[in-house]
Amino acid sequence: MEARLEIRLALAPFDPATELAAFTAAHPQAGGVVSFLGQVRADGVVEALELQHFAPLTLPGMEALGRAVLASWALDGLLIVHRAGTMAPGEPIVLVAAAARHRRDAFAAADFAMDHLKSESWFWKREKRAGQWHWIEPREQDYADKARWS
């Protein structure tokens, strides 16, 4: 059976629990589902987070990543939902879920997808702190995370 790929760019808040429940229900033959949820940290400092996207590249880039993940691990399905726009602390940013017959494949696929989303997806990020917006530069750690796979 062909693996199912579901990739979305969300321009409004989404509910990770609902997404994950639907994804799990769609893959009853999978023994395991690994998910990663990234959310805006409620650290008392960041008041808002904005992710800008560029329509011609952002979603197509996520779709290409999804196809690469499916080609690399034996999955039953892969879900990637990524927010763009302005988010409040505690709001979800990204949800990745991988369903597989074997646990190891699901873990590696979700981990790989996150490392690549973090380091090379077409988003520009700024944070509002003390009423001022600050652009976030790429982090060296993100490049190092991605390099684990090469």
Partner: protein, 78 residues
């Protein structure tokens, strides 16, 4: 005979707008109409360009009427 320049991320702050209309023509001539400090940033080594949604490395591109050239600073990740 207008083209558009689109600025992502912090380049939009520097440009004072997310996009501007410019006269069509060679990129070099278009950039010469902008503030020199902005032009220098746009030509930065780490800035990539997309012509009508496709990545291009051609700094000698000639913008025709209706073309959109986007300037993409380094991504900060999802």
């Amino acid at each position: 005979m207008k083209a558009r320049l689109v600025f992502l991320g912090k380049l939009a702050d520097l440009a004072g707008a997310g996009e501007i209309e410019v006269a069509s023509g060679p990129l070099e001539a278009v950039l010469a109409t902008l503030s020199p400090s902005l032009a220098v940033e746009l030509l930065g080594e780490r800035v990539r360009m997309a012509l009508n949604g496709e990545i291009t490395a051609d700094r000698a591109v000639v913008l025709g009427a209706g073309d959109e050239l986007a300037f993409l600073p380094p991504v900060s990740g999802g």
